[in-house]
Every structure is written in C-alpha cells, then in structure tokens.
C-alpha cells in the first residue's frame, strides 16, 4: 500500500509544467552557423548538448541553470537540443527554468561535428573558439566549477 502511494506520488511529481501555446520555438542552428558563433564570441562559452528524453540531462539541468545565474554575465551559456521535438524541448526548458540561449539541432549534426556522441555533452570554449575542455556524459558540480574557473582565467 505504501509502495503504491509512493509510486503514485513520484509519478505525479514527474509531470512537467504546461508550455504556453504562444511560446517561441527553439531556433534551428546549422553546423557552419555554430562555428561562426563560437569563433566570433568575445565571451567564453559553455555549450551543453541535451535532449528532453535524456534522463541524465535532467540531473545536470538544475546545475547548469545555477551556473548561468551565477556566471551568465561573464560566460555565454548555450544549449543545443538534439533529436527532439519542439514541444518536449520547450516543456523541458520551462520545467527547469532554463533561460539561456538554446538552439534546435534535429539531426544532432553539431555534436557530431565536434566529435561528441550521445547526450548529454558539455563543451567549454575560450573566446575565439579554442576548445578548452569536453565532458561526455553528466557533468558534476566540481567539474563545471573548475572549468568555469579555467574559462574566466583565459578571458
């Protein structure tokens, strides 16, 4: 009985917030546009590749949001949503309160061009586009904080 009640509670807790019908879709981004974006940025970049169906992405989403809130004025945070639907992706962003810029990459071409496989992936770029670090899989708080230190020291 207790197990059933717990299961129902947990299942209810997993429902995400509704997405406004007039929410703007996540803009698409091609590989060449992404390359221009990272090479012309005068701020260091944290690029997180994610998808709404990716369970580990949920684990790191609150951490990335907190990092953006703390360092968003000095570091540019970018999300690349791959192999996803607009509706699910927007619901994911609303659920976790993600407000940094995000782009839609239906085929996952950008992470493939960067040599990454699967989700989540997190890339760290210095101003000018030099790749400083690449974290395949879930990023933990320590690694994220260390790499943000590295980016700030190089900028």
């Amino acid at each position: 009985m207790w197990l059933l009640a717990t299961a129902i509670t947990l299942a209810a807790c997993s429902a995400g917030p509704p997405v406004a019908a007039d929410a703007d879709p996540i803009p698409p981004l091609a590989v060449d546009e992404f390359e221009v974006l990272i090479t012309t940025s005068d701020q260091p970049l944290v690029v997180n590749v994610w998808a709404s169906w990716c369970v580990p992405c949920r684990s790191e989403a609150p951490l990335l949001r907190a990092a953006h809130e703390s360092f968003g004025d000095r570091i540019r945070f970018i999300g690349i949503d791959v192999r996803d639907s607009q509706g699910d992706a927007l619901a994911f962003m609303a659920e976790f309160g993600i407000t940094y810029e995000n782009y839609f990459d239906r085929e996952g071409a950008i992470p493939s061009a960067l040599g990454g496989f699967g989700v989540p992936l997190t890339f760290f770029f210095a101003p000018g586009g030099e790749r400083v670090f690449f974290q395949p899989g879930v990023i933990d708080e320590r690694t994220l904080a260390l790499q943000i230190d590295e980016l700030l020291a190089r900028s």
Partner: protein, 226 residues
C-alpha cells in the same frame, strides 16, 4: 559505469575495515559487532538514499528512470545520505548502541579519510585557485589549485587517529558525538576551498557539527559525577 568512483569507494571501505579489524585485535571493540559490515551497509544505504533524494529534487522520477540511480555524478543529496547512513548504523547497533557507535567512530572516520584520499583515482582532488607551493594544476592547465580533497583526507585521518587514541577514556557515546562533530566540521572547514556553483550544503555541515556536540554534552552529563 563510474569505475573511478568504485576505486574511490573501495579505498574508503578498505580503510574503514582495516581500522575496525585493528580495533578488534587490540580489544577495543568489546564484542564482535560486525563493525566493518555495518559501516559498509550504512554507507551503501546512505549513498542510495542520497542519490534517490537528489533525483527527486532534480525532477527525475526514480520509478520511471531506475537506471539513473547509478549516475552518481548527477548528484547525491548530502543531508539525506548522512541521515540515512546514520539511521542505518544506529539501527544495526541498536542492541548495544553507544558501545557500538563508539567502536564505529575511528573506523568511520578512517573510511572518510580513505574516500577523500581516493580522489587521486579520479583526478578529482582539486579545489579553488592557489599559489601555495604545494598547489597542483590539472592536466593542460596553468592554474594551480588547493588539493582540497587531500586536505580533507589528512584531517579525517587525524580525527580517526585521535578517536582511536581516545578509545574508551570517556563516557560511552562521547566519542561517537565527537566523531560526528569532527566529520561534519572537516567538510565545513574545507568547503570554502572546494570549487562550487551554489556554495555547497553548508547548513547540513553546521547541523552535523551541532548535533555531534549536543550528543557529546548529553552523553557526558548523563553519567558525569555530581
């Protein structure tokens, strides 16, 4: 699978078991309470509870995503893990509580020392930026940092040695309280040197320190001569 984390956990377990056996050989554990097994059991339950709590807090349903429990790097809730580990240990030692907790104190602190020293397996010893002579840099970086996890390991090893040395000199339960307070205090003291996004669970470390000190006072007064 986090094999480097397994190595780190293995070092923690090994340190705890070695100290527990040493205590038994020296006759410091009054009876065979299965100390090593109970400590490892408490650590496993604590890790599981901490991970499950972190998942729920992060909005991940553990029933729909059971495999995510293994993604320890996604976060472990410090408070839930500590409470669950302590509760498991207390339950396991309930027949001879204070005697058992006192016996567990040096081994538990040694286990924490081993866990933190195990950062070398993961390359995860680095803290905030430092220019001290012993500061170290991560591969490919020129930024040198405090080896904060090794600081913590050293402090825990000192606390374990102190607990071992103190042994049965005080009223039953005082040593356990001191161990709890020192375990939390080491984390509290080293937290400012840890790379962190949100500042870390300072409140839980403070609560652990205060709880340990309250146990010390209560246990000391409970049998202190008038």
């Amino acid at each position: 699978m986090e094999f480097t984390l397994l190595w780190q956990a293995g070092l923690g377990v090994a340190a705890a078991v070695v100290v527990a056996r040493f205590q038994r050989r020296r006759g410091l554990v009054s009876r065979d309470v299965g100390l090593g097994d109970r400590l490892v059991g408490a650590a496993v339950v604590g890790m599981l509870a901490g991970r499950l709590t972190a998942m729920i807090v992060q909005g991940v349903n553990p029933i729909l995503s059971p495999a995510d429990i293994l993604v320890v790097r996604g976060g472990v809730h410090t408070g839930a893990a500590s409470l669950a580990a302590l509760a498991t240990l207390v339950w396991g030692l309930r027949n001879d509580l204070w005697n058992g907790l006192d016996a567990a104190a040096p081994a538990a602190l040694a286990g924490l020392a081993g866990w933190h020293a195990g950062c070398v397996f993961r390359g995860a010893c680095l803290g905030t930026i430092s220019s001290l002579p012993w500061a170290i840099a991560q591969p490919g970086s020129t930024i040198t940092r405090h080896p904060v996890e090794l600081y913590a390991a050293g402090l825990y090893a000192l606390a374990a040695a102190g607990a071992f040395w103190l042994g049965r000199r005080w009223t039953l339960g005082v040593l356990a309280g001191l161990a709890l307070a020192s375990a939390a205090l080491v984390r509290l003291a080293t937290q400012p040197l840890r790379p962190s996004i949100g500042g870390g669970p300072i409140g839980w470390y403070l609560a652990g320190t205060m709880t340990g000190l309250v146990v010390v006072v209560l246990r000391y007064r409970s049998t202190a001569p008038p």
